[in-house]
Every structure is written in structure tokens, then in C-alpha cells.
């Protein structure tokens, strides 16, 4: 029996456990993860780990002594298969039953796969340390890379591929890269950035089918013709990892549905990429896939487990590093009707801009302007 059972040992799960201790929680905490690795951070995978700038162990979220000091029962290599919320018990692979007082669901995402590419030699997804080791091994021996999907992950992998000296093609049916995150104007700037760095950016283009020669992908047939590649990365988004909750009675709707306290049911909370909660200030249900949310929501859930009864009302934040550009975004850009430059100049790849919808600032974005964008954040009206 553990007083708090956290299922998912990545950023959000660990942040919850750590925040509980920081708040003085003295009960027992068990943290269960399906991977064998010590808890590690995912943002560096597509950048520093894939490029080789960092060894895999540098992605660790906490040093071994800091982790030990938390006094948590860390159960790794153990996948949750079901939960009985009435009996307050999770079952993990191998049949072991883990009773709990409070459950925190932090199982994150699973990469969306494209059936025609799944399991083919040369085809990859990138979510875990093991994924990145496999991909890096193949990239080092490759000359041409195709990235299917021009979201944040796909764009970062393309940039890292160029850094490794590969020829890179990005294929996405949408009109601009990262349009869902940053809208058409900033997306167009990103397309320009990738082209300036030698990437073939095939937006408005659909990947139709792989061409397989001697058991390996050698080309991809797209709506714009055949593209040659030694390696293909499928980066077409992710889905909340909720398979194990199908029969739980918890409400699942593109994530674990929670109230404004991130509570899915009595004694059950969800945090991080997997959680869809009611954002009181935005008056809608929200699910965020970003690193900062993993931590902030972990903090909020720890507070609520300890009785704070506080709504979780963050201003979303994400960043991405591509080539010599660090882009940082607060709030929402995608729903904006106007992008207004506040300082600097997009042509210099150094600027801060406000995203406005019906005259209200709904988000701010900075390119190579970390201080400026942090200050501009205050312009966002909620």
C-alpha cells in the first residue's frame, strides 16, 4: 500500500512526487514507470541526445543522490495494465497489485504511427531514450532523412539531421510547419528558416506510401513525387497513453478528463501530457503537451492532494531550439488574427511579437529574445 501511487515516471510524475515532498508530505510515495531507465527528460532527446552533444545519461531528470533523498519507492520497467478505482488498486505487468490512497495518472503520450510504415527497417518514431539510440545509430550511417510531420518534434529532428550533415526532407500536409502551435505567419518564418538551412520543406504534401527495397525503406511516395531516403522518422503527433484505463470507468476523451483541480475521480488525479482538465480562466477543457506543463501541473496536483483545493490555471509555455533560433511562446498563437512585432525584426531572427485575437493579446512569441518574451508575457489578457 502506498499513500500516493504515481503511474508514469517521467517529468510530470516525478514533479508530482518531488512537489509532495517539498510541501512536507510524509506519507509513502510509489512511482511506477514502464521504461527501465531512471526518470529522464524528453525535450533533449530530439536535440542534444540525437545530435550526440549529450550522452544518454545527461538527460536524467535528477542526480541519483537527489532522487534517493526523495524517499520514494521507484518501480521501473513495470507497465500499468489496469486500475480498479473502487478497490483503489492498480495492476501492473506480471500481475502485481499496487493499492493506493491517491492515484496520480502520469502516463504521457504514445507516438501516433502510420500503418504502412510501422515496423519497416529504416522507419522510426521518437519518444523514448531507446528510440533515440536506435535512430541515432542509423542516422550516423545514413545520407538522407525524411521526416514525416512538421510539428515541433519533426522540425527539431529535421534541424538535428542537418546538424549531423544529412540531406533532409520534411513532408507535411499542412501549409506551414508547426501551424497548429504557432499559426500561419510564424509557421511561414519557420519554413523559411528550414529552407535557409538546406532542408527540402514539402508542405501541403501528403506521404502516400513507403517504397521498400531488400526489406528496407529506400523512398517515400508523396503527393509531390518520390523522395529518396535511408531513414524515415514518423513524427505525426501523439495520443494520450490511456489504453490501460479503458475499463476503469474514468472519463477518457483525448486524455483523462479532469475537473479544474486536475481530479478525474475521488482520489484520482491526472498530470502532464495525458491530462485534460477544465481550465477555469479559459472556460474550456485543455490538454497541453509541453514540458513546463508537466512540472506546473505536478505542483498543482501535489497541492491539491494535500488539500489546497485550488484550480490549475496556467499560462501555457513552450520553447523549441532549431538551428540558431530559440523560439519561446507564452499563451496561444494559433487562434490569433494578427501578429504584431513588438521589438526586433523577424528578418534578423531576433524579435518579440504579440498574437492578438479581436484586439486582445492571447499570446507572445520570441525568437532569440528570452528576456523580451518573458517581459511581454504580462501583455497576455486572460
Amino acid at each position: 500500500m502506498s499513500d500516493v501511487l504515481v503511474v508514469g515516471a517521467s517529468a510530470a510524475g516525478l514533479a508530482t512526487a518531488e512537489s509532495l515532498r517539498r510541501r512536507g508530505f510524509t506519507g509513502s510515495i510509489r512511482l511506477v514507470g514502464d521504461e527501465a531507465h531512471q526518470p529522464y527528460d524528453r525535450p533533449p532527446l530530439s536535440k542534444k541526445v540525437l545530435s550526440g552533444a549529450w550522452a544518454a545519461d545527461q538527460a536524467a531528470l535528477r542526480a541519483p543522490d537527489a532522487l534517493a533523498a526523495l524517499d520514494i519507492d521507484l518501480v521501473l520497467g513495470s507497465k500499468a495494465v489496469s486500475v480498479d478505482v473502487r478497490k483503489q488498486e492498480v495492476v501492473v505487468s506480471g500481475g502485481r497489485r499496487l493499492p493506493y490512497g491517491d492515484l496520480v495518472i502520469a502516463t504521457g503520450l504514445a507516438p501516433r504511427r502510420l500503418g504502412a510504415f510501422d515496423g519497416l527497417a529504416g522507419a522510426h518514431v521518437l519518444r523514448t531514450l531507446d528510440d533515440v539510440a536506435r535512430l541515432r545509430g542509423e542516422l550516423l550511417a545514413a545520407e538522407r532523412l525524411i521526416v514525416l510531420g512538421a510539428g515541433v518534434l519533426g522540425c527539431e529532428i529535421a534541424a538535428t539531421g542537418r546538424q549531423l550533415g544529412l540531406g533532409v526532407t520534411v513532408v507535411d500536409p499542412a501549409p506551414v510547419p508547426m501551424g497548429a502551435q504557432v499559426g500561419p505567419e510564424i509557421g511561414a518564418l519557420l519554413a523559411e528558416l528550414h529552407r535557409a538551412n538546406g532542408v527540402e520543406v514539402l508542405t501541403g504534401t501528403k506521404a502516400e506510401a513507403p517504397v521498400v527495397t531488400n526489406g528496407r525503406i529506400t523512398e517515400v511516395l508523396t503527393s509531390a513525387g518520390l523522395v529518396t531516403a535511408d531513414v524515415v522518422v514518423v513524427a505525426v503527433g501523439s495520443t494520450p497513453a490511456t489504453d490501460w484505463l479503458e475499463d476503469s470507468g474514468l472519463i477518457l476523451d483525448d486524455g483523462v478528463v479532469c475537473d479544474s483541480r486536475c481530479r478525474a475521480a475521488d482520489n484520482v488525479y491526472a498530470v502532464g501530457d495525458v491530462a485534460r482538465w477544465w481550465h477555469e480562466r479559459q472556460a474550456r477543457s485543455v490538454r497541453l503537451e509541453n514540458r513546463t506543463n508537466a512540472t506546473e501541473q505536478g505542483l498543482a496536483v501535489a497541492d491539491n492532494i494535500m488539500g489546497a483545493d485550488k484550480p490549475y490555471v496556467p499560462v501555457p509555455y513552450f520553447w523549441t531550439d532549431q538551428y540558431d533560433v530559440r523560439m519561446q511562446v507564452f499563451g496561444d498563437l494559433a487562434g490569433a488574427d494578427t501578429i504584431r512585432v513588438l521589438e526586433g525584426d523577424p528578418a534578423d531572427r531576433k524579435f518579440v511579437a504579440a498574437a492578438e485575437a479581436a484586439g486582445r493579446v492571447v499570446g507572445v512569441v520570441g525568437w532569440n529574445s528570452a528576456r523580451g518574451v518573458r517581459k511581454a508575457r504580462e501583455l497576455i489578457t486572460s
Binding site: 512537489s19 517539498r22 527528460d41 520553447w319 528570452a370
Partner: protein, 71 residues
Amino acid sequence: MLLQVEIDEPRCVAAGHCVVAAPEVFDQRDDDGVVILLDANPPGDEHERVREAALLCPAAAILVRDRGGAP
């Protein structure tokens, strides 16, 4: 209680969350936004904010060590 704050600078991603959480202890460089540690041994009334900053850092770049005891 003494608190020792250390920065693992190569990890910093310039999010600036630390500056928001504890502006007396952290700042950001003008050019690239990387953290500047203003006070490696902050006074007691900053400790909670510093610990919050370390928790919030999306790159786990802030290390906080208890040095224990009174100075």
C-alpha cells in the same frame, strides 16, 4: 539554515521561470537569456522561492543543496 545554489549552465534553456519565481536570486543574460545566478547563498526569506524556482525549471538546471545548521 544555509542554502547553496548551483547552476548547471549548459542545461539552461532560458525559459526564465526562475526569474519570475525568485527575481532577487536569478536573472537572465541579455543576449541568449541564459540564467545568471545573483546569489549562491541566498538569505532565509528567499529559500522557498529558490526551491520553487528549482522545481519549476524545465531543464533541471538549478541545484539546491542544504548546507544544514546555522551559519
